[in-house]
């Protein structure tokens, strides 16, 4: 009994299991990234990144897919960021605490948990068919924007509420109006948090396949889109097509595409982290 309760032994056992759990989390990530890098880096070349696909996608590059994903991300930011910030401002600064507000908050939390394929079907029904945008960058961006909104709103609200109450009091006490207070004393100090949340949700949106499946993604389109009403290729869907729809594609090509997609997501996350740490060193309250 005495030996079982030995605190030093307990310490070691606890430490072991905590470490094990962490490894279980980290190991698959390392493996996935490792395998993709090892098998995909051989096809990486300037041509792969900048050329159009040839021979039914079995050769050439993936530039249209990269460009398409870039367009979708830009479109998502354009639609989701303003709407997300404004509704977060409304919810955290203007709305009165009541049943309606709680209902809206509940809806937003639940929307964040809706599977992405459901957003895809919504986009098909609403943007593509009802609003008659057709399968287009516009419809795809709007669908991804709708999917990103709950995360952006939640992150923005938290960032707004983290701004100390004294900033608002000072601003009001100097004779500022409500909007002036939000615009000049609250928003600037919440912006880093808002941007970080937005970038992280964008990197997720950039890698989603289901929402773009019915709304924008082209199976094979060896040219660049000319307007927002055109279809476009996109990296996640291109990867799906290469892996399952086209016979006899070199495995390296698939891994190369996956590598570009992962690199894109990592890059965006790094930008998010850099913004956050830059402002954390400047933040002094």
């Amino acid at each position: 009994m005495n030996q079982l309760m030995n605190p030093r032994r307990t310490e070691k056992i606890v430490f072991f299991f905590l470490l094990l759990s962490t490894l279980v989390v980290v190991l698959p990530v390392i493996l996935v990234v490792g395998i993709i890098v090892v098998r995909g880096s051989s096809v990486l070349s300037w041509e792969f990144l900048t050329a159009l696909p040839r021979m039914g996608m079995k050769a050439g590059g993936i530039f249209p897919a990269i460009f398409g994903t870039f367009c979708l991300v830009v479109g998502t930011v354009v639609f989701a960021l303003p709407v997300g910030i404004f509704s977060a401002i409304y919810l955290s600064e203007y709305s009165k605490r009541g049943r309606l507000t709680r209902l809206i908050e509940l809806a937003i939390v639940n929307l964040a948990g809706v599977p992405s394929v459901v957003y895809g079907l919504f986009g098909l029904g609403f943007f593509v068919v009802f609003l008659n945008f057709g399968a287009s960058i516009l419809a795809g961006s709007l669908t991804l924007a709708v999917m990103s909104l709950p995360v952006i709103i939640t992150a923005s609200r938290e960032a707004l509420q983290a701004v100390p109450k004294s900033f608002r009091e000072v601003s009001y006490s100097l004779g500022a109006t409500k909007w002036q207070t939000i615009r000049h004393a609250v928003l600037p100090h919440a912006l880093p948090g808002i941007l970080t949340g937005t970038i992280l949700s964008l990197s997720r949106a950039a890698g989603e396949t289901a929402p773009i499946l019915f709304t924008v993604a082209a199976f094979y389109l060896p040219k660049l889109p000319k307007s927002v009403f055109d279809q476009a290729m996109a990296l996640p869907y291109h990867l799906y097509v290469l892996s399952t729809q086209v016979p006899n594609v070199k495995l390296e090509l698939q891994y190369g595409t996956a590598l570009v997609l992962v690199a894109l997501a990592v890059l965006m996350n790094i930008v998010g982290i850099v913004i956050r740490s830059y402002f954390r060193t400047k933040k002094q309250w």
Binding site: E169, L174, A176, T177, Q180
Partner: protein, 250 residues
Amino acid sequence: MVEKIQVQDLSAYYDGALALKKVNLTIYDHEILGIIGPANSGKTTFLRTLNRMNDFSPGFSYEGSVRIDGKDVYRDWEVPQLRKSVGMVFAIPTPLPITVFENLAYGPRRHGIRSRKRLSEIVERSLKAAFLWDEVKDRLHESAMKLSGGQQQRLCIARTLAAEPEVILFDEPCSGLDPISTAKIEEAMRELNKQYTLVLVTNNTKQAARVSDRVAFFLMGELVEIDETEKVFTIPKDERTEGYVSGRYG
């Protein structure tokens, strides 16, 4: 003497609980009114009613009236205009995490002043009036958070002045400061008194004695006594006042 602020039968409540009980008093133009009293005596509630900062306290309600320049603060004044005219310095120094200059320019900018030259003039004049100019004139574009506690509080006074108020409310402005910083702020208050009407809430009875022209003593939400400073401290009319100023209440 011109009457600047008239308070009539002012009662205040938080969620129905009484915080101020039928307070009647008059504050004159260009005087320093000290408000003393123990914790929970309603002095801060009273102060925050004068510029309607109580609007942000959940459950706040009031009865009676507060008139500034003859206009009722709850009926006749535009709230931003009221707060511009009735500035406030808080208990804890509250610089915004932006530069000294931008802190000072915050009020004027919100009131529509764009010209860089005008702003610079206002910043310099306000910092000088708060006795801070010499210490920060070379650091105007550094973060205000780098200043010491006493400097930050004088920055807050200067920032209030920059909004060009007529009345300034001080809510225990020296509660977290050392004696030398306190002395500097008291010096600033006496100088400001030539131009502004000051209301000073303080837990420090001696400070009220040093600075104020008149003193009001609050207890449990009631205005017990208001009179010239010397009278309150030497021949108070109410024995509760006497007990408080002579230190019997600790």
